[in-house]
């Protein structure tokens, strides 16, 4: 049975696809192959907070109004992150990945989709504690310039520090977490010495290619927002960027298993989604 709700929803889905096309053609941000359910949720909520009746109305503002497109770009790029998110992942990095990095005199790490940088500082802390920081060049990229700016500043709300401290300890932290920041009223500033070897930059995983040749890529909770083919597109970029034997780390619920590039990797840890690019590329 097709009732009015079915037709309404079908039309709304068409309007959402048109909106994505408009954003792409006008601004170059390509969300066309992101999870549709995710996009729809964010767009519908934007409609209600702007008091608009239809996606077509929103499209008008997106094309003509600077503030609206800025807002919609923020809506569609989810920047939620934490220090030492999934402590068990960082613990595994210490146990399994650090020994590999220790064999290199110099190495490069790329955080793709680093949001406001908490993940980057977490990794930097581990490198410091393992005595490897000075050998590292760290690239931290995101397609959202606003969050990159915040990442560069490294200033975070003090509210979250308690949880971050717990995460740090669960992740196998060796010092006191407070060694790495200075508190200032209601915020904390990450230590300058963590920033020295980090380069923050704008990079879009959909429309830009290889960023640099690197020994390790950390891309967590970004691919989750992509459809399968777009995931593969990003994984191909990672494969091409990684040196032989390079490490790829994904988010806890993301997997390489269904990728057509899976045969190019060995699994280091199935649960924590840590992979290693093979030295010889299979036929």
């Amino acid at each position: 049975m097709r009732d009015n709700q079915d037709i309404y929803e079908e039309i709304r889905n068409i309007e959402i696809r048109l909106l994505l096309e408009a954003i792409y053609q006008r601004y170059g941000y390509d969300f066309r192959n992101y999870s549709f359910a995710h996009l729809k949720r964010r767009i519908v909520h934007r409609l209600s907070s702007m008091g608009l009746k239809s996606v077509s109305q929103l499209q008008h503002y997106v094309l003509h109004d600077h503030d609206t497109i800025q807002q919609v770009l923020m809506d569609l790029s989810i920047n939620v992150t934490e220090m030492f998110r999934d402590p068990s992942f960082y613990k595994k990095v210490r146990e399994e990945v650090i020994p590999i990095l220790k064999t290199y005199p110099y190495f490069k790490i790329w955080h793709a989709g680093c949001a406001t940088g908490e993940e980057v500082y977490s990794m930097a802390i581990i490198l410091k504690e393992e005595g490897l920081y000075d050998r590292a060049q760290i690239y931290a990229t995101d397609f959202n310039q606003k969050v990159i700016k915040k990442a560069k500043e490294g200033i975070y709300s003090i509210e979250n520090i308690k949880q971050y401290t717990t995460n740090y300890q669960k992740a196998g932290g060796k010092e006191s977490f407070s060694n790495y920041y200075t508190a200032h009223y209601d915020s904390v500033i990450m230590d300058e010495s963590l920033k020295n070897n980090i380069l923050f930059a704008d990079h879009n995983l959909v429309t830009d290619g290889i960023f640099s040749e690197v020994n390790m890529i950390i891309c967590r909770n970004v691919l989750i927002y992509f459809e399968r083919d777009l995931q593969d597109h990003a994984i191909k970029t990672f494969l091409d960027s990684l040196l032989p034997g390079g490490i790829l780390c994904l988010g806890s619920k993301e997997t390489l298993q269904f990728s057509k590039y899976y045969p190019n990797f060995n699994q280091i840890d199935a649960k924590e989604k840590i992979y290693r690019k093979k030295y010889t590329i299979p036929e």
Binding site: D3, D6, S35, H38, K40, R41, I78, K253
Partner: protein
């Protein structure tokens, strides 16, 4: 009515309620069931294993991009919201918490309503917050069916009460009655 999916939300007291409900559902039950139970973000997949062991029905944790199959009860993983795509696969997101919760019942219900529309059944069980009320309202707006656990039988009655205040629900039932209701749907699909 030709129902295609069931979504369930539960919070405090939900473990026992889900066990009581799922263990009563016949093995031959032929709709997918998707469940959000509020959990600590650091918990593992204990809940789905536990319920799978006890029930005839297959119970498993939702995986990213997994195809939704009939006759399986899916549990949202801790610390991720669950959405449903037009092509009947799952999407997971790490968006902000909603009603202080991730996974959130509202997020699942809303997304499921968009896709299943009038062929969706939404069920709100025990819990100490308001999550699920808004979502259930959207399910009703799309012509779906709203069921709430009888607050008198709920471990914590806030969540079912809130749902009843927000939505004109179709049925208020205890857990056995909800299971009977679902078992009887079989054959109409």
């Amino acid at each position: 009515m030709d129902y295609k999916a069931v979504v369930i939300g539960s919070s405090a007291g939900g473990l026992d309620a889900l066990r009581a409900l799922l263990t009563r559902i016949n093995r031959s039950f032929s709709l997918p069931i998707v469940i959000v139970q509020h959990l600590s973000p650091l918990s593992d997949n204990y809940l789905s294993n536990y319920l799978d062991n006890l029930s005839d029905l297959r119970v498993k944790e939702v995986e990213e991009k997994e195809r939704i199959e009939p006759g399986i009860a899916y549990i949202a993983p801790p610390n991720y919201h669950v959405l449903i795509e037009e092509n009947r696969t799952f999407a997971l997101t790490v968006d902000e918490k909603v009603n202080y919760a991730r996974p959130s019942v509202d997020v699942l219900f809303e997304s499921a309503a968009y896709v299943y529309r009038s062929s969706l059944i939404g069920i709100v069980l025990t819990g100490a917050n308001n999550d699920g009320s808004k979502g259930l309202k959207i399910i009703k707006q799309y012509g779906g069916l709203a069921i709430v656990q009888d607050p008198k039988t709920a471990y914590v009655d806030t969540m079912p009460r809130s749902a009843m205040e927000t939505v004109k629900v179709d049925h208020v039932l205890n857990l056995e009655e909800i299971a009977d209701f679902l078992n009887k749907l079989r054959g109409e699909v």
